[in-house]
């Protein structure tokens, strides 16, 4: 019995000392990094985003979808398509992607473009965070180099993007099978 008590005491002391050492010695990840990781998780859980951007006093709406598409070659291709309200379409079928197309896709909150970018930046960088408002609602602004992602202060769900002097609002939307079929065939 005494043997078990002493062994247990040594083990308990080890747990306590190990935990104490880590708690005192290791830094806690910044709130901005934690918010960025959660925002990236939100983004990567969705395949469809609706967005609106103010350009020259006009509102340009967009719908961004990540999935499989009929390519010009006739074969299926995986990527992202952004359909804009003015009839233009931006496609991200890697590895070819221009800087302008990337900006459009990020501003529109395309989940498979923005999500990995936010997640990558959150590792190894200090992510700055500040309070702000989006569409008259309280929000947090997550600063990721030249891009700012606006998220809900309660859930960290992405609400908008600011990039190259333009600002968008985004809404992550659940995909339905019929909508997916329509988008995949370009109907």
């Amino acid at each position: 019995m005494r043997t078990v008590a002493i062994a247990g005491l040594v083990a308990a002391a080890t747990v306590a000392a190990g935990w104490g050492l880590q708690s005192v010695g290791l830094p806690q990840a910044a709130r901005g990094n934690e918010a960025a990781v959660r925002a990236a998780e939100w983004l990567m859980r969705f395949r469809l985003t609706s967005s609106s951007v103010q350009i020259g006093g006009r509102v340009l709406r967009g719908r961004c979808y990540h999935g499989w598409f009929d390519a010009r070659s006739g074969r299926d291709q995986r990527g992202t398509v952004l359909e804009l309200g003015n009839g233009l379409t931006v496609r991200d079928v890697r590895p070819r992607l221009t800087a302008a197309a990337l900006t459009a896709l990020e501003l529109a909150g395309c989940t498979d473009v923005l999500g990995p970018r936010v997640a990558s930046y959150a590792v190894g960088n200090t992510v700055l965070l500040r309070r702000t408002r989006v569409s008259d609602r309280p929000a947090l602004a997550i600063r990721l180099h030249r891009l700012t992602l606006f998220v809900s202060p309660r859930t960290d769900r992405p609400l908008g993007v600011q990039l190259d002097g333009m600002r968008s609002t985004i809404e992550l939307t659940h995909m339905t099978p019929s909508l997916a079929r329509r988008l995949e065939t370009g109907a």
């Binding site: 002493i6 290791l26 830094p27």
Partner: protein, 375 residues
Amino acid sequence: MSELVLSSRAIAVGEQLRRRAWIVAWWAGGRLLVLATAAVMHFTGPRALAGRDERSHLLGLLGAWDGRWYRIVAVHGYLLEPGRQSDPAFFPLYPLLLRAGHALGIGYLAAGLVISNVAFLAALAAFEALTRELLGAHLARRATVYLAVFPLGFVFSMMYPESLVLCAIALTALAAIRKRWLLAALVAAAGTLARPEILFVTLPLLPLALSERGAKERGLAFGAVLAPVAALGSFALYLGIRLGDPLAWTHAERAWGRRFTPIGLVTAVERLPKAVEGNAWVIRDVVFFVLYLVLLYAAHRMGAPPLWVLAGAIVVVLPTFSGSFNAIGRFGLLAPAVFWGLASLGASRRTDTIIRSLSAVLLVAATVHVPFVFP
């Protein structure tokens, strides 16, 4: 009288150090090969394959690979990114020491290189003492020399915790053999917070713990055997409180394609052609996997303690149950019995010379390959 005792003790310590000076010489020789090669690669190596952090320092190459992750933990703390490669896969002791070094006013890379290389000298000394205790002085000398210049031993000079863990393994066993169980518990726990392999070193300690007679001694001995599990528990507790996921380290490992299953070894073999297609360097790990098994068999045949051979086999084989051969070459460095097996093969003067020369050449070649590989 006390002055006399002190001076005789100082003479004894001095004599011990003089007798072990060859360990320092082999350590210095091996490390010189690694550091000099890293410096040459800084000027002549591929620029495109190295990150900015690695390129900005003369020995930056030695901070590459997982060194980057350990630095991230030291600077920013743990952050779990579900489904993506993230830092909870890396144990906390090394980042803690990096922070301590940085607090003294040196950079993270410099702190890492000092910690790893000094710890490797301590590891060589402790390994030699342990081997001498278990297998005699002749084999201990050969095994220590081979360890000092082992081809994959460039890792002991990198921003990796391997040298600390090897040191902890040998010191834990030495402390247990000398019945200093509290010290054994402390070192084993610290080692586990650097890498989990030390868990298996408690296996050879079990008979020693069982041979203790008194209740107190036996309790302390079993406390030492349990210490690695308890230290692992402290890491889980920390991750649970900080990240809300006590198993964050295993979940983070999945993003590296590691997931333990009972048929993991079969999966690893099945996936091998595809793994080679993706990264041909995995062949290096397969070659070392086979070599380690051969060396463990040689250690067994030579009469190495069976539980040490078994612990070595677990260290080498268990990671393959995660479905991958990746990094087995590095993991095997933490199995002392591997080097005992190699030392048993180098008994003749000719083989000994061949092993030493070949190891030194391969150590340089292995250091050269670092910037060409993205692990």
